[in-house]
Amino acid sequence: MVNGYKPATLREAVDIRSRESVIPYAGGTDLMVQNKANAVYLFLNDIDEIRQIADDSEYIRIGAAVTFTEALASDLVPQLMKEAVSKIAAPAIRNAGTFGGNIGNGSDKADSVLAGFAMDGRVRLVSAGGERVIPFDDFCVRRGVTNIKDDELIAEILLPKDKCAMPYYYHKVGGRNALAISRVALAGVYDVQDGVISYISLTVIGEGKFTRYRDVEAELIGKTVEEVQAHIDDYVRLFIDRMTFTRGRVSAEYRKTVIGNLIRDYLMTL
């Protein structure tokens, strides 16, 4: 007996998804750790349409079933994303793990999601009835919970080209060099014109959820780098005071301290 579905096209995949209770499967690296008994998988790993990396006038488009290794070999994928995914686990996991799986499983420690959040990434979701494109902010609700509907599949991750072209900051803190899950990490992109901050983004791993404090980011826009760095403690506090730290394996106090240090490091290197 063979249970499971292996559609050849995305159209076929969403048709199955609309009528059956299936678990979308791309790389398997997260799903197979649990490998629930009697799971019925919808195997998406050989669907060409979602294995492409492409660009258009507005976005770099990364298919949901593109692996991290494939992204690292692409000239289109921005350096911030490459740096983030290059530190995921080890080669055998990066050879299998995918962008769709990384955001789809709702982890609050997903390295590609961190980079995508900092770049105003979007998710393209498809269903038998159509498609919708939503920002990462709207897709990631909280740890383990996303905004995907039961009949939808993730088709692509979209990264705005203007954000891909900006200078970036990225730092990951893990327990070891290889096979480390991020305890704390920070990613951001920025634009400074004549010493004045014209754009800045900041996202962290370590708070227990992904979020952007866009109102706090807005307070920095229009300020000079010199002014921000002269009052660095105040600006670090603006972000930290807004963050709430859920209980986790690593103490909240540690995560708060290290995130503060990384925000300081980021702002001091603008």
């Binding site: 499971g4 998988y41 996991i93």
Partner: protein
Amino acid sequence: MNEIRFTLNRKETTYAGSAADRLLEVLRDSYDMKSVKCGCKEGECGACAVLIDGVLINSCCVAMGAVDGHEIMTVEGFRETEQFAALSKAFAELSAVQCGFCIPGMILAAQSVLSKNAHPTEDEVREGLSGNICRCTGYNAIVNAVLNAAKEGDGLW
């Protein structure tokens, strides 16, 4: 899916079990590929690594449905190659094997490194083997063996 067709060590085969079965367990229990070791079942140790279409993948993190249409190589198949002979000689000469549990995964990780880069630096070898855990050797002998195999087996990759 009606059946799962794939190639195992150059031979075509059909698996009639569940598409959700774990490749690691199917290789060991249904195909008697005992070089594939079960260390952690969560992608952390690399002892179950195999080559799928020449790419290093932990077989504990693969469901059978995903291998339909693909080529799997384990050490049972790889040992018939000249590359294996060069790696085996280098591992033996440098005493890079102690208990041996991690070695099938290490050999395939080494093959994965060398097939992409015939003359890797030490750092590149360490990066390539970074997902394979060894409790005995302290890694240095294994890294040196891979570097020696690249040197002695020049032209094989």
